[in-house]
Every structure is written in structure tokens, then in C-alpha cells.
Amino acid sequence: MKRIIPREEYCIGCRLCEIHCIVQHSKSRNIIKAFKKERRPAKRVEVEEHGHVSFALQCRHCEEAPCITACLSGAMQRDGVSGVVVHDSQRCVGCWTCILVCPYGAVRRDGEGKKVVGKCDLCPDLEVPACVANCPNEALVLVEE
């Protein structure tokens, strides 16, 4: 399956990955509309930064995914075909148990008041996920097993 690996030696901390992630998961997928007009979805990639070091991190799609086992409603599941850890927002009740157990801090609350979480889905509609495609310095690498 597809996986994304961050390379801190190349990351410049520009956070374009976060911006393009938000755009890709917005209603219009248009950067201006996503940021100015629509309800802005939560970013599913997070740039961690400290001093001069930075890197972007999103769901690792763990082999033994704690979020799947812990999910109270059954909304968090592994896609049998792609192996991606997918989140069914229809079934999510927003109990935050996945946030409590994700070792990467890769699940976040999505939207104000709307009790649903969001996480990296590896951009199923794109050949290359938006964060990887839009990284100006190849600090996110897509690998495929």
C-alpha cells in the first residue's frame, strides 16, 4: 500500500502540505473558497517544528492500528482492499477515543460542533496525495510496497 515518509532534513517548515491537505478535503477543493467561504475542514497532516528542525506527519496506517481496536462505534476500519485505515464519518459519534490512543496524534476533531474526527485518507481520488504532491522540497516521500 501507499505510505508517506517524512524527511526532516529536507522539510523547510512551510506548511504548504497542511494548506493543500485542507483544500483537498474541502467541499470545493478550491484554495480561496476553502479558506474564505466554506467550512474549513481540519488538516490531516501536521507540521511539527522545534528550532530549525521540522517535518510533516500524518496517519501511519499502522499495521496494528490502536484506533481501529479502540473505536467505540466501528467507524474506524481498515479497508480490506487498499489496507488504508479509513474513517467513516457517518458512523463516527465523536467520542474521541481514537484521539486518546493514536500514538502519532494523527487524528483530530473535524469542524466546530460537528462531532466527527478527521484523519489522513491518503487522498483516494489522487494518484499522489496532496501533501506529497505539493511539497516544494520533496520532504514527503510516497512509497509503495
Binding site: 528542525v53 501511519r60 490512543v101
Partner: protein, 441 residues
């Protein structure tokens, strides 16, 4: 007598995750599941959401409608297992049917604890632990009622929240001096209690119900230990849960405050396994067997029981007390030791200007507990450090910072978690690169 390769008793978190695990290794072995409740497996923690209308009936189910068929599970719905004979490897249901098994899992869950309160046995009340209870609550609260909830643990508070959403007057009586005393620390308890009170729920802590007088139907009067009298139209009793061990005891399995299991979820009898709220199993933080009556823990134990039943040597990694709650817009997450018992623990606390609150509990440079209220994002990183028993000496100063993350870990630890954990991909990448370089030369 029909014989199954695997029989699972119970139909909830532990049972279903066991079935999934069995099927991941053994797609065809015969598998039967007995559930006392007639319904397909549903998410028990969602019953308050059902009452509040934030989840509909369809949303209650943990798995899709064709789950049992697809997994080739003989689902004996509404069938209670009455007795188990480990020696002859057979069981008997309450309908008198008998089955044989090669490997058995008891995932019988919990039962509500009934306090010895005078008059309670004669009274009608809800314990709020099942879908049926939620239905009853919905039916009874078609008109707003005066309700009384005994116990401010997770179930009591969820019941209070549900009743409140139905327009009921709600009084919660808790014997301890604060709400959610096990899941939260004093500060977070106060924060939650304040939210509840602001929303109109009355909370009486440090008090207990000493007598109940039934007045027909669900109505009655409760007399508190200080003599105060409270009339109610509906009483919810939620003062704790206990492992449901009656079947295990009849079968002669070792029980010590729960069914005793080894690290492979095996009970004291060969080929009999147990998992979930019925079980005392290894707790990572306490370092000893503990009952952690929690959905994620039950699910994880079920998974490991299933793997072992299907023949894989898979030791249970251990559970951990952890809670995610949200009351009236205030989310609180906690894991491990949040109320350190003595001064050998180091406690770090951080309060944000916007009222959020974070706490880390450390012992001998190992993070053993955490609690975050308000801003909960990324708290799972702390939970994972607790579970990995990681030494946090060098990152102590950052643990509670807003931007805390892997960036603060020593680089080797970060690489291990982020890069190498991705299934040896770093290695593959390196090999691919070397291969490319070799070709270029």
C-alpha cells in the same frame, strides 16, 4: 451433538474482535457465537447517544448487517449459555440445546453492581447498560420527569446527560467527593461538574442514598444519608460494574475478582479463553492483573484471545485504564495514573489562558499518567508513551507544551517511531537507492 471448532459466549466488544481475529487466521473453521441479547452486536457506550438522538438505531450497530454471514459465524441470537463443562468440552443453553467445542471463549462482560440500599429491591429503576434500557428511558421520558441518578461514574454521568437532553430534571448523588472520581483528577472533575451544573444538572457529592421508598411504577422517594428526601419519577442506579463471572464459576474456572487469565487470555482450564470486562488481565501501568472495564481494553483482549485460539502465539500486550469523555462541550481525555497515591510520583501541570488543563504524572522518569481537558488534540502521543513505558527524562519539559510532538523526542526514537515503524520501509528505500546507484555505476 453439533461440534464447533470455536465457540464464543457474548456478543460485544471482546466477542466480535475475537471473531475477527479468528477469521484473520482461520477463514473456514466452524465458529458459533452465543448472545443473550437478541440484537446483533451494538456499541454499548452509544446508548446515551441514542437517547440524546445523536445516533439513530442504525448507527448503534458495531458491524454491518451481513457481518455474521460474511464471517461465517453461526449466530445464536437471544441464546443464553447456562452451563459449560470444560472436561467434556460441551455447553448447554437455557433452551436446553447442547453443543460441543474445541476452543471456547467467555466474553460475558460486566453486570451492574447493586448497592445494599434499603428498599431498593422493591423499587423499579434502570441501570442504563443496554439498548433495552435506552429504549425504556426514551419511552419513560416522553414527558419530562424528575430523575435521580445514583453514582457519578461514567455510566451515571452518561445517564444524567441523556436524561437532561430529554428535558428531565436531573439530580446526581455521588458518595465520593467528586464526579468521575476514577477517570479524572480533582481539577478535571470540578471542570466537568461546573459544566453540568451550568447546564442545570444538580450534583450532590459526598452524599449517598441510604433508603428508597417505592411509590408505584418508577416513582419513589430517596432518603439521603443527611436525611434529605428526594422525590423522583425515575431512578437510575449506576454505582459501578463487576465482572460477570457466573458462567465461569459454574464451569469451575479460577476467578479472583474476575476470570483469571494468563498472557494468552487462557483461563485455568485448557482451551477455555476469556476476554473483556469479565476478566482480570495484565495492566501495563499497574504492572498487575486488573479489571479495566473499558471498550478499547475489551476489544484488545478479544483480539488477542482470538489470535491465540486460532493457533498463533500472541501474548496480550497489556491494557491500561483510559477514558475519553465530553460533557456539555468540554472534552477530557485521561490515561494511566491520574490520581497518584503518594509523593513518589512527580506531577506536572499546565493551565492555558483559555481554561484548558493538562497534567502528566511521572514516576522514575517514566510517564505513567496523563490528563488533558479542553484542547485534546494529539494527546494520544502521551498515551503511547505511557504504554511504551518510555523514559521521558529528556523531554519532560515539553510534554505539556502545546506543540508537543515527536519533534521533541531524541532523533533515534523519532526515526524508529515514524520512519522505521512504517514496516521497514526505510530499509526498502535504502536498498532501492543503492540499487539505483549500482546501476548508474
Amino acid at each position: 451433538m453439533r461440534k464447533y471448532d470455536y465457540v464464543v459466549v457474548g456478543n460485544s466488544a471482546a466477542a466480535i474482535n475475537a471473531c475477527d481475529a479468528i477469521r484473520s487466521l482461520d477463514p473456514d473453521g466452524s465458529l458459533a457465537l452465543f448472545g443473550e441479547e437478541k440484537r446483533r452486536c451494538y456499541s454499548r457506550p452509544l446508548i446515551s447517544y441514542l437517547v440524546m438522538g445523536t445516533v439513530d438505531e442504525k448507527g448503534m450497530y458495531y458491524r454491518p448487517p451481513d457481518y455474521y454471514r460474511r464471517r461465517k459465524i453461526d449466530f445464536h441470537a437471544g441464546s443464553k449459555v447456562e452451563a459449560v463443562d470444560p472436561e467434556r468440552r460441551c455447553l448447554e443453553t437455557s433452551d436446553g440445546e447442547r453443543y460441543k467445542w474445541r476452543r471456547l471463549l467467555l466474553a460475558t462482560g460486566f453486570r451492574p453492581f447493586m448497592p445494599p440500599v434499603e428498599g431498593l429491591e422493591e423499587a423499579m429503576y434502570l441501570t442504563f447498560v443496554s439498548w433495552d434500557d435506552a429504549r425504556t428511558m426514551l419511552r419513560l421520558t416522553s414527558r419530562p420527569l424528575r430523575s435521580l441518578v445514583m453514582g457519578a461514574g461514567l455510566i451515571g454521568m452518561k445517564a444524567a446527560e441523556a436524561l437532561h437532553s430529554r428535558g428531565c430534571e436531573v439530580v446526581v448523588v455521588e458518595r465520593m467527593d467528586r464526579v468521575l472520581p476514577l477517570a479524572l483528577d480533582e481539577t478535571a472533575s470540578e471542570m466537568v461538574a461546573a459544566r453540568c451544573r451550568e447546564s442545570g444538572i444538580e450534583i450532590l457529592t459526598g452524599r449517598s442514598v441510604s433508603r428508597v421508598a417505592a411509590r408505584g411504577g418508577y416513582r419513589g422517594t430517596a432518603v439521603l444519608d443527611d436525611g434529605a428526601e428526594l422525590d423522583f419519577d425515575l431512578l437510575v442506579v449506576a454505582v459501578g460494574v463487576r465482572p460477570r463471572t457466573e458462567l465461569a464459576e459454574v464451569a469451575g474456572l479460577r476467578c479472583e475478582g474476575g476470570i483469571v487469565v494468563d498472557e494468552h487470555q487462557r483461563t485455568s482450564e485448557p482451551d477455555v479463553y476469556a476476554a473483556g470486562d469479565a476478566v482480570v488481565a495484565y495492566d501495563l501501568v499497574r504492572g498487575e492483573p486488573t479489571v479495566n472495564a473499558l471498550w478499547p481494553v475489551a476489544a484488545l483482549q478479544g483480539k488477542y484471545a482470538g489470535l491465540n485460539m486460532a493457533g498463533k502465539e500472541a501474548p496480550y500486550p497489556g491494557g491500561n485504564s483510559m477514558n475519553a469523555v465530553e460533557f456539555f462541550g468540554l472534552p477530557v481525555l485521561s490515561a494511566g495514573v491520574v490520581n497518584p497515591p503518594d509523593a513518589s510520583y512527580e506531577v506536572l501541570i499546565r493551565r492555558g489562558e483559555d481554561g484548558d488543563y493538562r497534567k502528566a504524572v511521572i514516576r522514575g522518569d517514566v510517564l505513567v499518567g496523563m490528563l488533558v481537558a479542553g484542547k485534546i488534540e494529539r494527546a494520544g502521543i502521551l498515551t503511547s508513551l505511557i504504554q511504551e513505558r518510555a523514559n521521558v527524562r529528556r523531554i519532560k519539559g515539553f510534554l505539556l507544551e502545546e506543540g508537543f510532538g515527536h519533534i521533541h523526542f531524541p532523533r533515534s526514537m523519532r526515526e524508529e517511531r515514524i520512519v522505521e515503524a512504517v514496516a521497514g520501509l526505510a530499509k526498502q528505500e535504502r536498498e532501492a537507492r543503492q540499487e539505483r546507484e549500482r546501476r548508474r555505476r
